[in-house]
Amino acid sequence: MTFNWRVFQTTFPDFMRATGVTIQYAVIAIVIAVIWGIFIGSINFRRPKGIWRITSAYVCFFRETPLLVQIYFLFYGLSRLMPVSASIIAVAALVLNDGAFIAENVRGGLQSINKGQEEAAYALGFSKFQTMIYFLIPQAVTKVQDSIMNMVSIIIKDTSLLMWITITELTYMAHRVNSKYYQPVTAYLTAAVIYMALFLSVQGIKKLMDRRSQKKYELSES
């Protein structure tokens, strides 16, 4: 039950490789989830007939069911219907789950924007679509960038569930090192430190973004 340096040294390259996999999945999932979240969020904000009911039901359902079951559902369910690789399922599950949370945030951001912005854009002759793209979405995203950055750290945490569908990411590596050497403290402490490093760097980026947007705000005020 102590930290074993020998095991740490022999398994460190494996851990680094696994960290690479975790970062890779997290980054891909974040990029797609933000786009997907903005898309669904603006549909839920605009409420076009018909589609709106489907997208809001989707957001409601995916926000209120556990990610692990969703992953199992997609992985074992979809692989019966068509041949898809585990990595695609992994990204799809993360995007569907966390995209729903981002969509709800973005919708809230869009609703909090002053109605005058939209009307001013219409008065200047912009179409509905252009108003969304050029005026409303940028403002909404800057408003909710804090919660989006929180979602980023949650997505990094969520990638740990991908170990159950054969993806060799960080938690899986810790699990494997532990079952090979039986050194729980060494294996899991290493993984925990790496996760903390990722989390703290995301927090750092969040703070930098905060400072930048504050500066922008001050400039526009003066």
């Binding site: 209120e64 740990s160 925990a192």
Partner: protein, 221 residues
């Protein structure tokens, strides 16, 4: 699948034998998390010197490390205890940190005048804390606590991976008998959705009530 096997899967396997375990898991870890959160939250809200910094680090750790890793570590490191108690321990440790933040925010949001008024009435410290401050904190924190409870319910599915026989694990076992994942996991999703959605609806109602209560006449519909 025939109707009889649907019935057997849904009612006998999932509802009758798995749901009670999940409910126990939820109850146990929520009580544990609330205990940790209340004690830690009071310490952090009161800004007790060294302890509140240590708890601050603990909260950061719980926010950064996935529950999966914590549960696997506890499962590997603990030589005693059933999978149920390990799961309760792990989940309440992690969720306790979040509840701690909620309680801390609530205590900091209570007006300073309340403390001063209690002091002029020469109420002892603990009476002030438990009879005056905490009731106000609870009113403010209740909607957030319910939101956290929803996250906790979703978190219990992770306990299946260390072998705790709750909904998800029963579904994994049932997979070998039924083999149709869309149906088996679909049922699990539906059960979780019903539990969480009911709580979310209650939470939204409560939030409205709390806002009305705090804002009083200033609240506009």
């Amino acid at each position: 699948m025939s109707l009889a096997s649907h019935k057997m899967l849904f009612f006998d396997t999932l509802i009758k034998s798995a749901l009670p375990v999940t409910l126990q898991l939820i109850l146990g870890s929520f009580v544990g998390a609330c205990l940790i959160g209340l004690i830690g939250g009071i310490i952090r809200g009161m800004k007790v010197p060294v302890l509140s910094q240590i708890l601050g680090v603990y909260v950061q750790l719980c926010r950064g490390i996935p529950d999966m890793l914590v549960l696997l570590f506890l499962y590997a490191a603990m030589t005693k205890g059933s999978t149920y108690s390990i799961a309760v321990l792990g989940i309440s440790l992690i969720q306790g940190a979040y509840i701690m933040e909620i309680i801390k925010g609530g205590i900091l949001s209570v007006d300073k005048g309340q403390w001063e008024a209690a002091k002029t009435l020469s109420l002892p410290f603990l009476t002030t804390l438990f009879r005056i401050v905490i009731p106000q904190v609870m009113l403010v924190a209740l909607p957030a606590l319910i939101g956290q409870l929803v996250l906790l319910i979703k978190g219990t599915s992770v306990a299946s991976t260390i072998g705790c026989l709750e909904l998800t694990k029963r579904a994994v076992i049932a997979m070998s008998g039924y083999s149709n994942a869309l149906i088996v996991y679909g049922y699990v999703l539906v059960i979780f959705f019903i539990m969480c959605h009911a709580l979310t609806v209650v939470g939204k109602k409560l939030e409205k009530y709390v806002v009305e209560r705090i804002m009083g006449d200033k609240y506009e519909r």
